[in-house]
């Protein structure tokens, strides 16, 4: 780039220069050389000359000389207006060049701009942006210019990098918009887009400098503060107080800035105040050493010329004086708070007054009027005597009334400043201003905190002076941000007792707030605070409490009628607070909560709102509202006592009602709320009805959702909460539940019926013990089984399930077998045969079948009281089912399993002893061995052989004498042969292992069998064979 510039210079020099101009110009040039220091008038002349001259070429060369000179002092020239004419000249030249030497022009423009950059005009300057923009414009104006070759982009980049100055952003934007409407330059569009966006971005944040800029400004200011405060401390050390004050003034001067946003201003303020504290403590210490030193400093500082530094110093001095006991505290405070009125700029004023408040926080008079009067008198008496400075340190006049007045005045002024902020500056910056204001609110609120910290502030004073004055200030400022914040402040900072005694005044003020204020938040804040308070103190007289709810309830009603535009969710959340108050503080008065629910329902009904979406803003509030009594009462029956609870629930849509219903159930389960009679059951059902049966507004695919499953599962658990001691009652209750759940339709039945069946079994087993206490015992037991069977039947017929009812039938069989009613085996038989016919008819999948048979055999083995004649057909049926399995492997497995029936099964005749029918076992095993050998897959066959082997060993071990050991040996050798032929695989290895294990086991079994045989003759076997 440098080279390019040099070449270009040569070309410029080659232009001829008329002598006239040269002569005239000598003097001007002379002036230029002196221009290093500031701008002598000659420079302006030169520029003027240059502008007026016709010969642009000459002008340019001169100008170049000029710019070479100014380079030395570029910092000074940067903001000088003369720059612009120079640049304009440059363009003039270029345009001329375009006309005469079109081929050269393009190059020239480039050069000029770079030149311009080289001269040191930093791009972060509005002027330079204009120049860059101009260059892009010019290039575009030139008709033959090839956009590709022109370095538009470069200029734009300069402009963009200059955009840190938001003031220029608008200009840049408007220029670029007007410029690039021309569609011929397409390759510009992307860049333009980017450019526009950036410009807009900056424009949005305009008005005040950007964060980076602010940071920089803050840095500069802080540096000054540091340097000056250092000087100040040095002067203090040397004892030069007046010089120190001068330095203090100069760093306080930085606080006069207009450019910092609240956040940055705060940082600067903190730095400055820290230094002031140093000054303050030094002066106080100094005074204790030498009391004559302070003299008239309080007056002295008032000669400072700038108001901001002056007042900061004045406050500091005032504090020093109060601390040292010089002058009247009462008067000093009053004076300071008055003097601060001098600053009316919101930001600066707020911080100044904050300083006043903070630095006097430990100095405010805080003792009752009466005490103050007495001590003042005594001080006066002392003064007449010998009053030295040491004593005067403790001489503090004024009472809490003065402190209150001081803070109230300060509060009023600060609030005014704060509110005024809203009305300054252009309206488009409103949002930003409101943000700033929110950042500053704490400064205003601190006043109220300070008031609440005054220990001598009595309830009477609060009621008579403080609150009315604060409320008046809040109401009269008519500013929503201020009103909302300050009302909340009042609620939070003052004591509960104060609130209770001024409730009416406060609520009246609430009514006078502007309509933009969200009064509901204020009200909720107060209700919550008082609810917490009244709840925490015990033994509170009831009438006072009662009033509280009624007052708030009335207030809420008024608020809602006065503000018809109040959003629904706010109305609901207001009621959330009311219900909270009612339930937490008036545990015995359910009518209060009910009343709130009732009013809310009326309001909602009046507005014609129905089917509120569960997860919308209103729905969420409603759900919150409905959860309160559930959580607080922890008893569904008490919740149900709120008559309006249900009607408010109805306002929600299907999902919302389900959410509440399951919430109630969850609470019942957690609290183990037992349902002990039909009445209670009906009440509960009333609350959870959305889960019990199809709803009108329920989506057609509702039963497919996960929520539906979860809700039905949780509903099903409720059945176990039905618990009465008396068996008749319990049965009635279960029957009732069966009826209620029965209307739920097939999608719900599959969840809700099984628990009922189990509860029936539980009931019947516990009732079994009461045999003989009731004449109708037999009939009742039968009835229970009939009911259970019917319920399972519904699962088969209505829901069309197979496996689940089968399992339930089997459980029923086991239960019936245990209850000693006459001919109970008929019921058992019925249960098992039903289960088996389901298996036969409805279970198609072979794996499911194996499983079902497994369960059936397991259940059959649990029954002990079958007469032989009933047992046989069932066992045979099971064996049949096993041999009818679809796959050979399944047949083998099932048969091995069924064999257990003949060995381990019990019948009535065997009196609880196992049948041990070895003959049948062997038959079955032989049959399955035959089937196994037919199996074609070597691996599967091997598996089956090992299974068989294990089964044989098992019965052999168990003393089954019919088993021929040679048969086992034969099987072992076959299995071993098979093993050799298997392909190498992990499964084969595993099988090998199993085989070895089995052979080992066989060995053990053999040894023990041989030793057994030696001990006892085989008489038992004969006996068993007879069976």
């Amino acid at each position: 780039m440098k080279k390019k510039v040099r070449d270009a210079k040569k070309s410029v020099v080659s232009f001829s220069e008329p002598s006239l101009f040269q002569r005239k110009h000598v003097s001007a040039n002379h002036g230029l050389k002196d221009s290093k220091e500031g701008f002598p008038s000659e420079t302006h002349t030169t520029i003027y000359l240059l502008r007026s001259h016709k010969y642009t070429d000459v002008k340019l060369s001169r100008m170049e000389a000029f710019s070479k000179n100014v380079k030395v002092s570029e910092k000074t020239i940067l903001y000088h207006p003369s720059v612009i004419p120079i640049i304009n000249l440059q363009f003039l030249k270029v345009t001329e060049c375009d006309r005469t030497h079109p081929e050269k022009s393009e190059f020239d423009v480039d050069r000029r701009v770079f030149d311009f950059k080289e001269t040191g005009f930093a791009p972060k300057d509005s002027t330079s942006i204009k120049i860059y923009l101009k260059s892009t414009m010019r290039v575009k104006d030139y008709p033959t210019a090839d956009p590709e070759r022109f370095s538009y982009k470069k200029y734009f980049e300069y402009s963009l990098s200059s955009l840190v100055i938001p003031r220029c952003a608008k200009k840049v934007r408007s220029t670029s918009v007007s410029r690039y409407k021309c569609p011929s330059i397409d390759n510009f569009s992307i860049f333009e887009h980017l450019f526009l966006r950036k410009a807009e971005m900056y424009e949005a944040g305009s008005g005040v400098a950007s964060a980076a800029e602010q940071e920089k400004m803050l840095e500069t200011a802080t540096k000054v503060v540091k340097a000056e405060s250092f000087e100040m401390k040095r002067c203090l050390d040397k004892g030069k107080v007046m010089d120190a004050l001068k330095h203090a003034l100069s760093f306080l001067n930085e606080l006069r800035t207009n450019d910092l946003s609240p956040k940055f201003y705060y940082r600067l303020y903190m730095d400055s105040v820290n230094e002031l504290q140093h000054l303050e403590s030094f002066l106080v210490e100094d005074f204790q050493k030498d009391s004559g030193k302070l003299a008239n400093l309080y007056e002295c500082v008032q000669y400072a010329s700038q108001i901001i530094p002056r007042l900061y110093l004045l406050v500091t001095m005032g504090v020093v004086f109060i601390k040292c006991g010089l002058g009247s505290r009462q008067e000093l405070l009053a004076d300071l708070v008055e003097m601060c009125r001098g600053v009316q700029h919101p930001l600066r004023g707020l911080f100044l007054r904050n300083y006043l408040l903070q630095s006097t926080r430990s100095l405010l008079p805080d003792r009752p009027e009466s005490v103050a009067r007495r001590t003042n008198g005594s001080v006066d008496a002392n003064m007449n005597g010998s009053s030295g400075p040491k004593e005067s340190l403790h001489q503090q006049d004024g009472s809490v009334t003065d402190a209150v007045n001081f803070v109230l005045t300060n509060f009023g002024e600060m609030n005014k400043l704060w509110v005024r902020m809203q009305h300054q500056g252009p309206s488009r910056e409103r949002e930003k201003r409101e943000r700033d204001r929110l950042e500053l609110r704490i400064l205003v609120g601190t006043n109220l905190v300070r008031l609440s910290q005054l220990e001598s502030l009595t309830e009477e004073m609060y009621t008579k002076d403080v609150l009315p004055s604060v409320l008046e200030q809040i109401v009269s400022c008519r500013d929503p941000i201020s009103q909302e914040y300050l009302m909340e402040c009042v609620i939070q900072v003052f004591a509960d007792e104060f609130h209770l005694s001024t409730l009416n005044e406060f609520l009246a003020a609430c009514g006078q707030l502007t309509s933009e204020v969200n009064v509901k938040n204020v009200l909720i804040g107060l209700i919550e605070r008082l609810a917490f308070y009244t709840n925490s103190i015990e033994g509170e007289p009831a009438p006072e409490k009662m009033q509280l709810f009624e007052i708030f309830s009335e207030q809420a009603k008024e608020l809602i009628t006065n503000r018809p535009e109040m959003p629904m969710e706010d109305i609901v959340s207001l009621h959330v607070a009311l219900v909270n108050l009612a339930i937490k503080c008036y545990a015995t008065r359910t009518d209060y909560a009910n009343m709130s629910f009732g009013t809310l329902r009326t309001i909602i009904n009046e507005k014609g709102i129905t089917a509120v979406e569960a997860f919308g803003t209103v729905g969420r509030e409603l759900i919150k509202l409905l959860k309160i009594p559930v959580d607080q009462y922890n008893n569904v029956l008490r919740v149900a006592a709120l008559e309006e609870f249900g009607s408010v629930m109805q306002i929600l849509d299907y999902r919302g009602r389900c959410v509440i219903s399951s919430y109630i159930i969850q609470n019942m389960l957690d609290q183990e709320t037992l349902i002990t009679n039909e009445e209670e059951f009906r009440t509960v059902c009333g609350l959870i009805s959305p889960l019990l049966e199809d709803q009108k507004d329920q989506p057609s695919d509702a039963h497919e959702s996960e929520d539906f499953f979860d809700e039905q599962h949780i509903l099903a658990r409720v059945v176990h909460l039905l618990r009465v001691e008396d068996a008749d009652q319990q049965f009635l209750l279960l029957n009732n539940a069966r009826k209620v759940f029965g209307s739920g339709g097939r999608h719900r039945l599959q969840f809700t019926l099984p628990p009922i069946v189990f509860e029936l079994y539980r009931l019947v087993l516990s009732y079994a013990v009461q045999k003989g206490t009731d004449d109708k015992w037999e009939a009742k037991v039968r009835k229970m089984f009939v009911c259970a069977m019917g319920t399972i039947g519904a699962l088969v017929s209505t829901v069309e399930l197979a496996e689940l009812p089968l399992k339930l039938y089997l459980e029923g069989a086991i239960a019936a077998d245990k209850v000693p009613f006459s001919e109970n085996y008929t019921v058992v038989y019925e249960f098992i045969s039903k289960a088996m016919s389901i298996m036969e008819d409805d279970v198609a999948d072979s794996r499911d079948r194996v499983r079902c048979l497994q369960l059936t055999v397991g259940a059959l083995l649990c029954t002990k009281n079958f007469p032989e004649e009933n047992w046989q057909p069932l066992a045979t049926q099971a064996a049949m089912a096993a041999s009818k399995m679809f796959k050979k492997a399944d047949q083998v497995r099932s048969l091995c399993m069924v064999a257990a029936l003949y060995w381990n099964g019990c019948v009535e005749e065997s009196n609880g002893a196992p049948l041990k029918n070895g003959k049948r076992v062997v038959e079955i095993l032989k049959k399955s061995a035959k089937i196994a050998s037919e199996c074609m897959e070597p691996l599967v066959q091997q598996q089956l052989f090992i299974l068989l082997l294990n089964t044989y060993i098992h019965y052999y071990e168990d003393g089954c004498k019919e088993i021929d050991v040679h048969n086992i040996d034969e099987l072992v050798s076959r299995t071993q042969d098979n093993a050799v032929q298997l392909d190498v695989s992990a499964e084969a290895d595993l099988m090998e292992k199993h085989l070895t294990e089995a052979i080992k086991q066989l060995k053990i079994a053999r040894q023990s069998a041989e030793s057994d045989a030696a001990l006892s003759p085989p008489s038992e076997i004969v006996q068993n064979e007879d069976l």
Binding site: F709, D710, I714, L861, N950, H954
Partner: protein, 186 residues
Amino acid sequence: MLVLLIGDLHLPHRAHNLSAKFRKLLVPNKMQHVLCTGNLCTRETFDYLRSLSSDVHVVRGDFDDDSLKYPDTKIVTVGQFRIGLCHGHQVIPWGDQRMLELLARQLDVDVLVTGNSYECTAREKAGRFYVDPGSATGAFSVVKDDPVVPSFALLDVQADSIVTYLYRLIDDNVKVDRVVFKKPRI
């Protein structure tokens, strides 16, 4: 290393909830593994177990829905021990000790965890350890004559031994029994 053994919850079929006392005991991230003998019956219960530990193993109980695809048996290795897991309704006759021993041999496990008896037990036989955590909810069962005592078991697996804690809820009080199983030296 702590291993929780739990099963036969039967929610919502046979019980309304896991007792509050147990819920307080079963805190997340205490147990490294959860072995469940089945009969969770709902996904919700499984989610609850998942909240206790990230490593949850479940086998199929007789009342578990087939669609959940739990396996019939599972082997989990914890430290030096192979732990076999099976619900037990597949072992015919139900609860038959010798059949369980056969299963343990076949699975070649040091510890066999089964359910289906609705009683919390732990015993050692021929160098193998048999644990039944019982029913955590005290779920009703027709095979039991007495009311079912809610129970679960906790294995503290150490280098060469397992300390088993059996938790039973009797009259709403948690009773704990301790059984130690030492791995036999081969």
